[in-house]
Symmetry: C2
Subunit: 499 residues, 2 copies
C-alpha cells in the first residue's frame, strides 16, 4: 500500500480528460476499484483537485481529502489455536506502533484443533460459529491496537494472517472437515488474497487481506511465516525450527531442502490445561529460579496471578535437576525428597487438594495476587507436550540422515514467555540431548514477525509461497516410528544426557 | 468465461495435495475467489471429486456439481436514456438466445440526460434513486431474457454494458454532477471492470461486469461499442456513423483518425415526446407508405397503438415530398394542401384538438388498436432532432476538411424501428444532401452488438479501450459554428438537394 498526495490541474474545455486520467498522469497507471470512484469527482471538486490517492498493489482503493500520506497502517495477525496475537504497523516506516494478544475465543468449542474441526463438522452452524468467534477476537484486537496507536480503523489498509491450517481455514470460512480425516488435505495450500471485507474484517472498506500459504493439513501458515522470518529455509547447514504452540511444528532445513511436521503438543506451553496456567501477560510468573528457596519473576512487576509456559519449563526443569521430580515425571512425596533440597523448597511441596502433589509458587498473600501452584497434572501435561516435540525432532533428523549434534542452529519459537531457558528446555527433554546449547536461540513469535514482513513487502509474500510450495510435509500421526519415539520421549532424559 | 468438467484423483497419504492444486494440475493455473472455495471441499467429496470449474478470466468463480459446461451464458446491455435493450448470449457458441428491451424507468425523473443529471445533483438521494431505477429495469430484463431462454440467473456469469456517459456513470453509482457543467469531464473514461454484485446486478454471485470506456462527457460507451461493431474506427476512407437515440452521436473516421461529437437530438426517434410515440415494439407502426392513401405496417402484425421512429421519418419525409408539410416544417391547412394530394390522404389532415393540425394514421377502429395521429408538434420535434444531427455531421466534416460527397460509408444506428428508409432520412434532412444514398446503411442497435462482442472476447474489449483512447472528442455545445449550423438545419432541405 502506498499513498500519494497530488495537486491536479482542473479540467478545461481544451483539456476535458476524465478525473481518473488526470490522476494517472501524475502517479502512473493503476487499476481502480469502482467503489473508490463513486465520490472521487465530488471530492476533487470540493478540494480544488487536491487530495491523497491510496493505492493497494497498483489498485486505487480510495482518494482522501487533504494530505494523509503519513496515516498509512496495516495489521498483521498470528492466529493460534489458543492465542491470537496482532501488531499494528506503520506502512511508511515499517515501525511497529502497537502490539496485543488475547485468548482465541474458539477455545469454548474445544481446546485443540481436532475438537474445533469436530464442532465445525458436526453442527450445521458450527463452521460459522467458529468463524464469527475468531473474527470477534481479531476485531477487538484491531480496536485495541488502533486505540493504543491513536489512529482510526479506516487508516488501516491491509491485513495479513498467519495461523495453522485449521485456524486459517476457519478464518476464511473454508470447510475444515477434510482436515480431520486422513489424508488431511486442505482446500487450498496457496496464500489467499481477498478483500478484508470478504473475510469479515472491518478495517478500510476496500483493504486487502493476505492469508499465508500452508505446507500441509497440519503444518500451516504460521510455520511458513516463521520460516520466512528466521530465514531458515534454503540454507545449506542443518538447521531446526521448533514452533511451540498448541501444536508443535518442527521444521528441518538442510542442503536446500525443508521437511516440516506437526505434533499435537497440546496447549501446555501457552498456559492452557495447566492448573494455574495463563498467557504470557501481566501478572504471569515468567521465570523461576531455585536456590535456597524458589524465587519468581512476574511480567509487569505485578503481583503473580498465574504462570506462563517459560516458568513451567523453569519449574519442572529445576525440580527435575534437584531430584524432586522423578525421571518418569512423578513429583516425589515429602518423605521421598532428597536431603539436599533446601527446607524452604521442601515446605512448598505438599500433597495438595487431591493428594497427587503440588508445588506452591506464590501464596497469594500479596495484594491483588493469587495462590499459584504447579500440580502433578501440570507436570504430566508438560511431559506429553515436550515428548511429542522431541519425538518429532528425532524423526525428522532420522529422515534427513542427521544426528542432533549435526544441527548448527536451533530456533525455538512461540509466544509462551519472554524467553525459554535453553538448559531447562533441554533438561525437560523438549530438545534432544546432544545439541550444543549455544546453538539454541529463542526467537519469539516468528509467525507474527513473518506476517508483519508480508504486510510490508510483496517480495516476502512471493518468498512465503515458494517456501510453502517447496517444503516436504511429513505426516507423523500415521507413522509407527513416531509412536514408538513418542512413548520413549515421555520419560524425562537422564541428567547426564543433558548439557 | 470458460467451463471445464473435471475428474480429479482423490487425495491419499502419499498425495495429500490441496484440493485447489489437484484442480490446477488438470486445468492449468488460475486465481481463486475466496467465496468460490468455501464449499469446494464438501462438493468434491460429495461427488467423487468430479464437477465443473467455472473460470472467469483465469479466476475460479465457482465449482458446480455434475457436468454443466453447456450452461454458460452472459448478458449484454445497451443502456439508453429512453430505452434499455438487452441480449442473452450462449458464451460457448456466441449464439443469441434471447433479446428484449424496455423503457428506461429513469424517464420519470426527466426525459433527457441533463434533467437526470439535475435530479442526481439537486437531491440527496437523487443519484441512488436513478441508479436503483435503471438497475430495476436491467434486473427485470435479465429475468425476462432468462425466462425466454429457459435458464436460471445463476448460469449467467458475465455482463457487459454500453450506454452514454451519464447512463454509465449512473449505473456505476458515479457522480454525474460534473457531466452537467463545462467542461463535462467524466470521473472515468476507461472501461470499468467490476463485480456484477458491486454494480447491484443479480446474476451469478461472483460474475464480473464490464462497462464500456467513453470518449467524453457526451460521447459514451454506446458510441464506442458501435464503433467496435461497425469496424468503422481505424479505416482509411472517410466513413460516418450516426447513432440516433435520445442524444445523437456522430462519429467521423478518416485517415486513421476518429472524431466524435454528440448533439442533444431529443428522444423523438425513440418515440418519446411524440404524441402517439412508442418504442419499436409490438403494436408500433414502423413503416408508412403514401400512395393513393396512407398505409401502415405494424410490428407483430398487431392492431396499431402508436408509432415508432422509423414511421415518424416515413410520415414526415413523404408528407414533405407531397407538399403537405412546408420546408419550414408547418403542416398545411386543408385549404393550403396541393391539389395533387389524393382525397383519402387529404381527409386525414385535420386541425386536430388544439387546432395546430394533425394527420390521422390509424382511426382506432380495429379491435385492441388505438387512434394514432401525427401532430404539428411531432413534426417540430423531428425537425429539432434531425437538425441537430445534420448540423453535427456538417461540423465534423468541416473539421476534417471533407465534403458530404467524400463519405464512402454512412452507418445509421439506433433502435428506433426495423430500419429507416434512406431516402426519407435524407428528405427530412437527418443526413446532409450530397451523399450517394447507396452508401447509407441502416445498421440497427450496434451499441448492443458491440456490448455482445465484448461479452465474448477480451480482444474486443482491448479494441474498445483503444478506440476510446484514440478518438478525439469534439465538444459541439460550446461551438458557435454549431449553433449557426443548427439554426440553418432547422429548415427542411429543398427537395432538389435530396436524392
Amino acid at each position: 500500500v502506498r499513498k500519494r498526495h497530488v495537486e491536479l490541474p482542473e479540467p478545461t474545455l481544451s483539456d476535458d480528460a476524465a478525473d481518473l486520467l488526470r490522476l494517472e498522469r501524475q502517479i502512473g497507471p493503476f487499476e481502480a476499484d469502482l467503489d473508490a470512484l463513486r465520490n472521487l469527482a465530488t471530492l476533487l471538486r470540493g478540494e480544488s483537485f487536491r487530495g491523497t490517492a491510496v493505492l493497494s498493489d497498483h489498485r486505487l482503493i480510495d482518494f482522501e481529502r487533504g494530505d494523509t500520506t503519513r496515516q498509512c497502517y496495516g495489521v498483521a495477525f498470528d492466529i493460534g489455536t489458543t492465542t491470537v496475537a496482532g501488531t499494528l504497523v506503520d506502512l511508511n516506516t515499517g515501525e511497529e506502533k502497537a502490539v496485543g494478544a488475547c485468548m482465541n475465543p474458539q477455545v469454548r468449542f474445544g481446546d485443540d484443533v481436532l475438537s474445533r474441526i469436530r464442532h465445525a463438522s458436526e453442527n450445521d452452524e458450527g463452521r460459522e460459529e467458529l468463524r464469527d468467534s475468531v473474527l470477534s477476537a481479531v476485531g477487538q484486537l484491531v480496536e485495541e491496537l488502533c486505540g493504543q496507536a491513536k489512529i482510526v480503523r479506516r487508516n488501516v489498509y491491509e491485513a495479513t494472517f498467519a495461523g495453522n491450517t485449521t485456524m486459517q481455514h476457519l478464518l476464511c470460512g473454508l470447510d475444515v472437515e477434510p482436515l480431520g480425516v486422513v489424508p488431511f488435505a486442505p482446500t487450498c495450500a496457496r496464500g489467499v488474497a481477498a478483500r478484508a471485507s470478504q473475510l469479515g474484517l472491518r478495517i478500510h472498506p476496500r483493504a486487502m487481506a493476505y492469508v499465508f500459504p500452508v505446507i500441509g493439513g497440519f503444518v500451516g501458515g504460521d510455520t511458513v511465516a516463521g520460516l520466512l522470518a528466521t530465514r531458515l529455509a534454503g540454507g545449506e547447514t542443518p538447521s531446526l525450527m521448533v514452533d511451540i504452540g498448541t501444536n508443535g511444528e518442527i521444521v528441518l532445513a538442510h542442503d536446500g531442502k525443508v521437511w516440516a511436521a506437526s505434533t499435537a503438543a497440546g496447549p501446555a506451553f501457552e498456559g492452557a490445561r495447566i492448573a494455574c496456567g495463563m498467557r504470557a501477560s501481566r501478572g504471569a510468573i515468567e521465570k523461576i529460579v531455585l536456590d535456597d528457596d524458589l524465587r519468581v519473576s512476574v511480567i509487569g512487576n505485578a503481583p503473580p496471578v498465574g504462570l506462563c509456559g517459560s516458568a513451567l519449563v523453569d519449574a519442572v526443569g529445576q525440580l527435575l535437576a534437584r531430584g524432586a521430580i522423578s525421571p518418569e515425571g512423578r513429583l516425589l512425596q515429602n518423605d521421598e525428597l532428597p536431603d539436599s533440597l533446601p527446607e524452604a523448597i521442601r515446605r512448598r511441596i505438599t500433597p495438595g487438594e487431591n493428594g497427587q502433589g503440588e508445588v506452591l509458587l506464590a501464596d497469594g498473600t500479596s495484594a491483588g495476587g493469587g495462590r499459584v501452584v504447579l500440580t502433578q497434572r501440570d507436570i504430566r501435561e508438560l511431559q506429553l507436550a515436550s515428548g511429542a516435540i522431541r519425538a518429532g525432532i528425532t524423526l525428522l533428523l532420522r529422515q534427513a540422515g542427521l544426528e542432533p549434534a549435526d544441527l548448527q542452529r536451533v530456533c525455538i519459537a512461540g509466544g509462551f514467555g519472554s524467553f525459554i531457558r535453553r538448559n531447562h528446555a533441554q533438561r525437560i527433554g523438549l530438545i534432544p540431548p546432544g545439541i550444543d546449547h549455544t546453538r539454541i536461540h529463542y526467537v519469539g513469535n516468528v509467525s507474527l514477525k513473518g506476517a508483519r514482513w508480508a504486510l510490508l513487502s510483496t517480495h516476502a509474500r512471493a518468498r512465503a509461497e515458494q517456501i510453502a510450495r517447496e517444503s516436504t510435509h511429513v505426516e507423523l500421526s500415521q507413522d509407527f516410528d513416531f509412536q514408538a519415539e513418542f512413548a520413549e520421549a515421555m520419560i524425562f532424559p537422564e541428567p547426564e544426557d543433558a548439557c
